[in-house]
Symmetry: C2
Subunit: 432 residues, 2 copies
């Protein structure tokens, strides 16, 4: 794996660059915009994820010798283009919705302003990062909503690409998950890590007693014992016998979790282990979590459905040229006419319109200028890169806090898990 | 991003390791197995993807100073465990289905034999790689089946994590795609790359004529022009006017592709451009491809649905301990009893049972020994790692050829796109 991100790029971006360089149009000032035409899966809102990762990736976007040799040997582009690429560093400006921010159809999520040449080659990288991370963050936000005050643990690494797993853990944390099983997410991004135990550990030992004793002796009484390898009732009794009432938690990974949790809670209480928590796992999603609200569950471990976006594994964002310089140096709006994929030309600005009580009422998108603030509104685009220099870097906890604030100001319908319309409408304010 | 893969691992693997080291059970000879309880989405067969990537990842699985410092500072494991990890190199044996091979429920896709300690820490990495790559390879195989002799172009990088995109391009190639848009997949794995043009390129120029002229002048008459930015009919005429009948191809990315392709074919023919091909894109999946079989389409560009597994973004494989050493050194089969997640204990072997005409009839899984060959059968597990040394590395084209052969020997029902039962049953041959 290479340290440069420059070849995480579609072939056509470089051939378009070659043609534009030859034609003399590559240097035209251009504005590209990332937006989503719709929210996937009848969601009520989306959550921006990946911004911080994208800023890192843009900084590492340069064509090293390996990359240039590959492009030359495969005849991807001509010598003039290779020469241009060898000097590539993004020198333009980027604005975007803050990471963790909620978004709606046509929200201008990222605005990249530079020459056509500099901006066109970032298309695939920007979309890969934002589409994956936002899909996971959006699913995660619904799960933490459903879980209420109960913590959600991210444990889906094994169900997605090994590097995507790291990004998924990060995105889930932004949207309110408390911990992840993924150690690389701990090292790279500081996401708190946690773990329980697997069936293999119990099966390694001659008896469940041996296994539990080994785990408690080594990891302490606060550990979480997996109690469904053989018989749940016996395992819970054994766990409390070995660790005492200080046993941290038991994990249930199969069966009818609703009734099982109720039975296990009663059993733990009867054994005096009133503080021993119950962690449930096993193909949970936001709907399963909501269905367990009445059960005596203390934490949810979520895997597959989280890292695959709970039915919507990509956010469906696109990267479109919306304005570019004309021959005489003025900027003109551009948009294609394909009947089923209308784009809105022009540089965008955006506000979250809020009523006097601070409740969000609309996504107001201004074309060509900032919409007028009604008095309670909140501007949504923040500067991320200026003249090629990253200025939007922030701690991951800032994105997490932003998400919590942004979700809290949405109207109550936003938190419905059923399919429906976006929680607030998107309104256009055209230059006129 | 780190060169080591050792932290692409779940927290609990290292804490289980710590407890097993302390208990003296970490060195027990163990057999872990990767299998899928079912095929997702009513598929008729699955396709193994990721084997080659996994072999690379296991070789790079070692705990460097950075990793050890992280684990120590976060108190993930104790000093004895850190010392053990600092020397980690996998020294065991691995067998697996060849990459590109078709598989069925309970096929023993990967068998890892080593000490518990060495094998347990590979769980997440092995599953991440195999689950993602196999999900994409399985979807890709259905798409190339639907496309028949027409080439499929992978262009989904922007719809998945940027590194997952590289793996997806590789998996698609194994399952019969001819090219990818992803340049890193070209550099790292030698997958042929290709590209067309985007709407932004047309919009950058003052007129469509300027854009097409720039593209043809720079990239040659064999290029593919995107013709749906404004009016398709006009764009096709313009393309042929500029490039002549040698125009390579036109791309349609919106609208009713069935009728549009028919109209464009007639128009191209009427303009004398009989050899100009028609490439279609726009949210294609295997069903949309099949529906276009009657249309005069020459190639399919597939993006979102490919990299997200066409509705099944993960293959759902698990990594389970199936046998381990007893106190007296004999190997014993182990399995958990969780009612809804039964595992089959014991070391597995597997054959593809074929009739005299070479048509697959069953997946025969032997427990504890190789099933008896009926005379036309094909063994499925091949050695990948022996004593820690990788011996199963092969060119990517070998996996591609294996897939083609394996799919060709399945019964015709395997190629149905509708939901249904696996194309062949899985039969157990227990030691008896």
């Amino acid at each position: 794996m290479s340290a440069t991100t420059a070849l995480l790029t579609d072939h056509y971006e470089l051939t378009m660059l070659q043609a534009a360089l030859a034609r003399g149009t590559a240097g035209r000032r251009s504005v590209f915009e990332v937006f989503a035409r719709r929210l996937p899966g009848g969601r009520r809102y989306g959550v921006v994820g990946g911004t911080g990762r994208l800023l890192d990736a843009i900084e590492r976007f340069s064509f090293d010798d390996d990359a240039l040799v590959f492009l030359e040997q495969q005849n991807v582009v001509d010598g003039a283009t290779l020469a241009w690429l060898s000097d590539y560093r993004f020198s333009g400006d980027v604005w975007g919705y803050g990471e963790g921010e909620t978004y709606f159809p046509n929200s201008p999520l990222l605005v990249v302003e530079s020459t056509f040449a500099e901006a066109v080659v970032l298309e695939t990288l920007a979309l890969s990062v934002l589409n994956f991370d936002s899909a996971v963050a959006t699913a995660a936000s619904r799960m933490t909503t459903a879980a209420g005050a109960r913590p959600c643990i991210e444990m889906g690494s094994r169900r997605t690409h090994e590097q995507a797993a790291v990004a998924a853990a990060r995105a889930a944390y932004i949207a309110g998950f408390t911990t992840t099983s993924n150690l690389e997410a701990g090292r790279t991004y500081g996401v708190p890590t946690a773990g329980t135990s697997a069936h293999s550990f119990t099966l390694l030992h001659d008896t469940e007693r041996d296994a539990f004793t080994a785990q408690v002796d080594s990891l302490g009484k606060g550990t979480t014992l997996l109690v469904d390898t053989y018989d749940v009732d016996e395992a819970v009794r054994l766990g409390v016998e070995i660790a005492g009432p200080e046993l941290g938690a038991v994990r249930l990974d199969s069966g009818d979790l609703l009734s099982l949790a109720t039975e296990v809670r009663a059993l733990l209480d009867s054994l005096g282990a009133r503080d021993t928590r119950i962690v449930v796992t096993s193909d949970l999603d936001e709907h399963a979590i909501a269905a367990l609200a009445a059960a005596p569950v203390d934490a949810y471990g979520v895997g597959t459905r989280l890292v695959t976006g709970s039915g919507s594994p990509t956010a469906g964002m696109v990267y479109k040229l919306v304005a570019r310089e004309d021959d005489d140096g003025t900027m003109v709006s551009v948009e294609k006419k394909s009947p089923d994929k209308i784009s809105h030309g022009g540089r965008k600005f955006a506000l979250r319109r809020r009523n006097r009580r601070g409740v969000a009422e609309a996504e107001v998108v201004g074309v060509g200028r900032q919409p007028v603030d009604d008095g309670n509104d909140r501007p949504l685009l923040i500067p991320l890169v200026r003249g090629g220099e990253t200025i939007g870097r922030e701690p991951l906890t800032s994105a997490r806090e932003r998400h919590e604030r942004s979700r809290a100001e949405l109207p109550p319908t936003a938190l419905q898990l059923s399919r429906g319309e976006p929680a607030i409408p998107t309104r256009w304010e055209d230059r006129s």
